[in-house]
Symmetry: none
Subunit: 213 residues, 4 copies
DNA sequence: TATGAATGAGTTTTCATTCAT
DNA sequence: TATGAATGAAAACTCATTCAT
């Protein structure tokens, strides 16, 4: 029942909505907030200039909406794995990592938008973003080490440290392949995820030796 | 003796060249390519507007030159450590990592320029950049595992894989602390490098158990 | 039974008509023709956007209608005093002047609209206005000196000239206090009218000496 | 030696400057600040869009400059009559009035700009104007009754009041003929000034009887 | 060679008006 | 008949680039 400032946009047919959103995502992902052009967006989306502003009010509001949308799409993915919590540390983190990798593979443009949003963006926009997306971040946090089977760990190993190391490895891999995902198709991307998973298991094998009894 | 399109710039006194370059680096790092203002640059550099274009021809050419310069400065650092190659894998990679960390600590602005250059930049610029800087990347590669003391490794461990894992950890850490470096002074940055090194050694300890006999 | 282009508007209930008119008067008086917003008007009036244009056809036609209405309201006041004609010239003109002053005091917004309508308005609008309101001006003229007690006048004084001088004084005073009326409440305005009347009588005293025996 | 923000404009040839100024004066006088269009100005002036903003920076700054210019031109006229101070009150005020009338006759558009500037203009502009033009107003004030030959006055007449009455008459006349001046040529305007002066003397004759012995 | 005045294509945004229902 | 979603022409302003000197 709450009115959003975006109601004009949200009541149009889903198909049109998607087409327009895609145009925005593409433009903002490619050029960032400032150098993205509303002219380019309306051209891509095939809508008149006035209509864009009728829907979103301003470029800033449009950007915030689009990023919000991206965050929501991303968060939904994580929410899906809420129940899934393998008791083995490696499997647990690998599973989470794969979800993220698959998202990047399937939605490389959307992820790029998300990735850039918190980096190259005017301060005022960044502040606004933080306050909007803070809740999602909080919701998706959750403890990584809770309910783990600790019996396998060597006594002198801090499980939190171990988790951090594994996470670092996963993040390093994501970062390493990020550029590649941007350049290939989602199909190729999903194949790449398999490849990365395999690579990952090799590293995990090494670490496992150092952590487990 | 090949003519560069930058000869007008390169024949002026080194001192002036440096002042102008610094003005450009600052502006581009702070605002990104598109939002950076040539007006702001000439003001910072204390040169007439026309002169900037006399030197560099266009904003795009200027940006490419500046990024190229940054890449060169970065690469030079790596070249310096050519001789230094500890025979222990962890020490070797940690040493290389520290060089990079220190560069980021000491030149956060320059690094930011470099980092952004491949992310938030118009496609045409990005393409141009890749073709220009590819050669440097290739040149600075070098084998990580050459001349290592392999006697300590467990037989079933591939040293290349081990090196990759360690490198991944280091890259993950850089990524994790990048934002912080951008916000602190070089002095504080160097202190942070020590802290990160300590954190790194903890992770290495875990990995070492899994790799060494 | 001539059809006006405003018939759609004029057939709605008088109450609604008044509410809509007031909204228009307020908006046009405050912001002038061009800067006045039809959005603001429909909001104030509580009617749908399309309905405003259904009623009036265009912003220009709306404005002309509203000004016309204001002119009519103003003229009606003058018509009311048709019977009242003191035989003393000063009293007669002062009486007429007070009617005008009181109108300004009581309807500062309406008068402002009227005043502005002939000054700051696009040429085409102004031309249209003149042709429409000319008739009213003519109708409200009437002789100022008819039925006067001429016995008090010095022989060498032309009563028409004397009347014109007095009128000039009154007009000068209105002009002088116009801005003040716009800034105060109708209540304060009526007090100001008393004050102006007093000032007026002082001037009249001087003139009386020059005109009467 | 003081730098003005208008130096870019002020260093161009006087001929061009005048042409541009005239275009601005015309547009602003006709439409007022808000509804004046910078597009229309550049078209009238025959200069590119960017050049207007290169010269003046913003529409607001342009408007302030133009009004300032008008005020200066107006004030200069008054300054010329500094020495001229007939000792007869009527002659003194008539003389001043004629200067004003002639200005209006010769520069009807400029005067219209001036007249509107303090009436129909956004608050922020009006404030700025007041602070800029205050000094001129102050400078041109001067006592109206100083050095008058008071011997001719009847004892019960306050010379200040008498002066105020005469001034009111002159202002009333200006107001009465303002619209006419706007519609005729400067040549016709000067003829009209003579006519008004004659009319004025008739009124003065009446007042004189009431004021002088 | 070196310059800075001048430019015009580009930017975001507003809002009176239309038209399908 | 009455509506409100949709529009496009116009607004003010920016800035990399050019070119006469």
């Amino acid at each position: 029942m709450t009115k959003t400032p975006y109601e004009n946009f949200e009541k149009i047919p889903a198909e049109d909505r998607q087409r327009i959103l895609n145009a925005c995502i593409e433009e903002f992902a490619q050029h960032g907030y400032r150098q993205a052009s509303t002219n380019a967006i309306v051209k891509k989306a095939g809508i008149p200039k006035g209509t864009l502003f009728y829907f979103f009010g301003s470029k800033k509001a449009l950007y915030l909406y689009v990023v919000d949308h991206a965050v929501r799409r991303f968060t939904v993915r994580y929410a899906e794995l809420a129940g899934e919590m393998p008791s083995d540390l490696f499997e647990r983190l690998l599973y989470r990592g794969q979800v993220k990798f698959r998202f990047v593979a399937e939605q490389p443009v959307l992820f790029r938008l998300l990735y850039n949003a918190f980096i190259h963006t005017p301060q005022e926009i960044r502040d606004e973003l933080r306050s909007r997306t803070g809740e999602y971040a909080a919701a998706s946090a959750g403890s990584l080490t809770e309910g783990l089977d600790l019996s396998k760990f060597r006594e002198d190993v801090d499980p939190e440290k171990a988790a951090a190391l594994i996470q670092l490895t996963l993040d390093g891999l994501l970062n390493k392949y990020l550029g590649t995902f941007q350049q290939i198709s989602p199909t190729e991307g999903l194949a790449l995820v398999e490849q990365i998973t395999a690579e990952c298991r090799e590293y995990f094998e090494l670490i496992r030796h150092g952590i487990y009894k």
